[in-house]
Assembly symmetry: C2
Homo-oligomer: 271 residues x 2
């Protein structure tokens, strides 16, 4: 069984009726890399979950219990672990006060294919991200913008799409954060107006002493090096964005080696 459901402390066979996650996307989630049954970045994922739950006034299940169930589900394997926490069962209507026992779902998934060694190819998405400071940064379950953006292309040679906000700022990829290099300094878009504060982004900000700032399309295209990152795939060097191409950059290679040294799941990917 690769999916397990719980309501508060009780195991459930499936999603309950009137779940507010399904009704309104009223929940948060984490997508985590597991290696040998262990989620190396668990503390950072849980911290982000807590920040999101706090912003949405959602109750989280007990961390120790979730971790125990996650370990049981992973059973020593490598893979992707997804955790969804919804507000639970509520009546019809937006008022969240009836729902107080969270519904949480753990699921195990295969690892995505390794990124091409020469780097990933990107496109610009047409769909713009709305500016909503109250939800910015949170990995919540209202993801129609990402679904629509990811539906813009089917070409398997394009690995990801970059998204801009309705104000024109570059925010990130549909499922990864973005870093760009100018004059020896790394910048990643601020996520205080839209976008997601990724766990690998947090690691890379710290590792690179990167700046968080608003970023223009021209600044991406003029960058000396570009990479994407997320907690499942690690650091993804970018080789191409439309007609713009980048050669492998030593600072990106160095960062990948540093990640491999710190996070065992990524050790095998770097020669």
């Amino acid at each position: 069984m690769s999916v397990r459901h719980f309501l508060g402390g009780d195991a459930l066979p499936h999603t309950p009726d009137h779940d507010r996650g399904l009704a309104y996307g009223d929940g948060v989630f984490e997508t985590m890399r597991a290696h040998g049954g262990v989620v190396h970045w668990w503390p950072a994922h849980w911290r982000r979950l807590e920040r999101g739950a706090s912003a949405l006034a959602l109750t989280l299940p007990q961390q120790a219990r979730v971790q125990r169930e996650a370990e049981a589900l992973l059973d020593g394997a490598d893979g992707v672990l997804k955790l969804v926490v919804t507000r639970g069962v509520g009546g019809r209507g937006y008022a969240p006060f009836d729902a107080s026992t969270p519904h949480w779902i753990l699921s195990r998934h295969a690892l995505p294919p390794s990124p091409p060694s020469e780097g990933v190819s990107l496109r610009w998405c047409d769909l713009r991200l709305a500016v909503q400071p109250a939800l910015a940064g949170i990995k919540h379950c209202n993801r129609l913008e990402q679904v629509l953006a990811r539906a813009e292309w089917r070409d398997a040679a394009i690995h990801e799409g970059l998204m801009r906000s309705t104000e024109g700022d570059v925010v990130g990829a549909t499922a990864a954060n973005l870093f760009v290099l100018h004059d020896g300094r790394w910048t990643t878009p601020a996520v205080d107006r839209c976008g997601i504060a990724g766990v690998c982004r947090e690691w890379a900000i710290d590792a690179l002493q990167a700046r968080q700032a608003r970023l223009a399309v021209t600044e991406v295209e003029a960058a000396e090096a570009v990479f994407l990152c997320n907690a499942v795939r690690g650091i993804l060097p970018v080789a191409r964005l439309g007609a713009r191409q980048w050669r492998p950059h030593p600072q990106v290679a160095q960062l990948r080696r540093r990640l491999a040294a710190e996070h065992p799941a990524f050790a095998t990917e770097v020669a």
Copy 2:
């Protein structure tokens, strides 16, 4: 049993695992008033569902089948019928291409209490609606903004909250559309940047030959009369918004009589 699930043409016992409605709010819904087992506004609800599904490239189930199952569930009763249609079961990741068979859920709910005869009381919500033209007007399942706005107050004497966009325009209530009267002309906020194009709103625009326009806070407060509307509760005269009060207005009373004459569910509410 007051909830029924289907995947395409097949009955299901419950929500399937990996449902994209729960993962991403990747779906649309309708909340309908049933009277004697009949949803009087069914054609308008289905048209709106089609518009939303088209914008999201979602497959809808067969209308005739949904209608048949809805009638069976209602079984001649009065109440609220909710229909949710999600993109169905998909893998991990935003790309929607794997999911092609919709999961649809019918549920029956009790009628909400009748509105107070003197009119409803409103407040201004602090949370602003993000501007997202790609999703505006659609009754999709990404509703965290409404959940957060509705969580702003618990005072049962306040019936609804008015929401503004991040640009400052008045958009509507958390679960109803808004109409305001100035110099004999009715206006309702345009919903091309955010907000929901309600089925009762559509009826009222037609009945009143109302204008759709951007609306400022000062224009609401200066209005001669104000009402809210939705497909479950019909026309709700507004008596109060913060310190501002309105007396019953003959044009609102006249509109309620007209709705009562056209829609049997609302006939009993107007003396």
